[in-house]
Amino acid sequence: MNNTQSNTIFKTIRQFIFITILLATWELSVRLCDLPSLLFPSFASVIQSFIAQTLNGELIHRMIFSLYLIGIGLSIAIISAMIITALSVCIRWISEWVQVLLAIMHPLPGIAILPIIILWLGTGPQSIIAVITISAIWPVIANLSIGLRSIPPTQIEVGRNLGLNRFKLTWFVLLPGAFPHILSGLRIAWARAWQAAVAAEMVFGASGGEGGLGWFIYKKRFFLETADVFAGMIVIVLIGLLIERVGFEWIENITVRRWGMTTHG
């Protein structure tokens, strides 16, 4: 326990040093080689515009809007995935349909169907939410059904032996049993939703008043504010890291890892 803890600390320190070296190389090469700031702004100027755009509220506003869209899209994806999975557990032909749909849709990046979504739903936030939902729903469904299938049958029989009804069996045995897969499904779903949200906004730009980080970058690109583009990317990276490293890692530590149910590593 102690050993792994100190290992993680060393790993973090090493990563930190690596990132510092990377940033220093960036700054130095910009300064020494006199690269045009339009192509490659210096790290200092990126930080400057990051601070400026944070203080004037624009970055925060954009970030909140992106997260808001992702929140809606992910919630719809998770709830519909649960309903679809529940239906396909109960009804055989639904399950076959879902398998076929999954095989077709899972490899398709959500952003690829954006043109169709625009035709059907127009260009407002609802289209971005639709792209997020479609990007996120398939990994959730796939992992949910893999998770349910991976539960040892004896555990289900123990549940039946204890007299659990269908609902209790699902809630207290099937869901926790499938949780490791559900969690990795959510991880993939989150990553895909995040990518979809930013990408969708960069394709059709959303509307001025209600754009997220993708729109921020998109707009800054057209005004050649390269340092601001970098600042937007930094926020995207930071949020991604925060959710992945702090959020999911934490959930994994207090659940799957504690239970010894890790599916990988």
Partner: protein, 320 residues
């Protein structure tokens, strides 16, 4: 044996790298290739005709075409050195110049009508746009965006009054949305979309280029970097001459030009001809409206400086 083999390989690699570097610099001036970045559409008819009639080749140039989806992408390809010349609107050019891009305008490139079309009979002027009404422009900082800004200043007193209504959509998507009445109520656009949209019943113009800007102006300009202009001056002249020849040919043989280009636009020759000769369309290399845009964009805050003299932003050959 093994060691010497490796030495030779290393040596060869280094030589190759050095040669390619010197090659790039030494041969840059003498290569006849001309990398041209532009977009697709009626506006680019002079380039397409030049390609069909091999006009660049006649002037000793080997054109390499690079087609992009937006003015910003054209601009980026010039900045990164992927293109020698690029065609873009005056505002994207000025934004680049303001940010320190080392380039100038080499020619005007087509005057076209630009208009704000709406599918909503209720909207008669800019005042009638409600906050939820979406107005599509190709991109932020595009000619259409700046024109909308100008019109907003004139009619509503504030250049950014309609910025919250903006939505960035490529022309085909915006035209489809407008015609299917989904999502957007207005589209600031150019031919052929402008013509096609206006043919829909109930669709009408809210404002146009002349009302917003005051006069006609070059919708696109040919932008050339100092590097290309100064180090390959022979090719620069050849490029300008080629475009002028192509334009002259279009103006003299418009019917034939329409027949040649119709398949490219997937239109009938008659329709292509009609669009090419629409009132307000003019194929000319005069550069119109440069200072007007610069002054307005400075005032509205899109750029930070205005050229003290138009010579700062045009090459010596440009006719105003």
């Amino acid at each position: 044996m093994f060691r010497s083999k490796r030495l030779i390989t290393t040596f060869l690699c280094i030589t190759l790298v050095l040669v390619s570097i010197f090659n790039g610099n030494l041969l840059y001036a003498s290569r006849p290739e001309l990398k041209i970045a532009g977009q697709f559409g009626l506006v680019y008819a002079p380039l397409m005709i030049a390609e069909k009639l091999q006009i660049f080749q006649k002037h000793g140039l080997t054109p390499i075409w690079k087609e992009y989806g937006s003015g910003a992408a054209v601009r980026e390809s010039l900045i990164s050195g992927d293109a020698d010349v690029g065609f873009m609107g005056i505002p994207p050019f000025l934004i680049g110049w303001d940010k320190g891009c080392d380039w100038k305008v080499s020619m005007g490139f087509v005057v076209v009508p630009v208009g704000l079309v709406t599918n909503d009979p209720r909207i008669k002027s800019l005042k009638d746009f409600k906050p939820a009404d979406k107005i599509a422009v190709p991109s932020p900082g595009s000619v259409q965006h700046i024109l909308l800004s100008m019109a907003a200043k004139k009619e509503l007193g504030n250049p950014t009054a309609l910025d919250q209504n903006l939505i960035a959509l490529p022309h085909p998507d915006a035209a489809a949305s407008l015609i299917s009445k989904r999502g957007i109520v207005a589209h600031f656009t150019t031919p052929p979309y402008l013509f096609e949209e206006l043919e829909q019943s109930g669709f009408h113009l809210v404002t146009d280029d002349v009302r917003a800007f005051g006069t006609r102006f070059s919708f696109n300009v040919g932008v050339v970097t100092s590097k290309f202009h100064n180090r390959r001056s022979v090719h620069y002249r050849a490029f300008v001459n080629a475009i002028e020849e192509s334009m002259a040919w279009i103006n003299q043989n418009t019917k034939k030009a329409a027949e040649l280009l119709a398949p490219e636009f997937k239109l009938s020759p008659e329709k292509t001809y009609k669009y090419m000769t629409w009132p307000g369309m003019e194929y000319t290399t005069r550069a119109l409206g440069l200072m007007g845009f610069a002054k307005f964009m400075k005032e509205a805050g899109y750029i930070k400086k205005v050229p003290a003299d138009v010579k700062e932003i045009i090459w010596e050959n440009v006719k105003l």
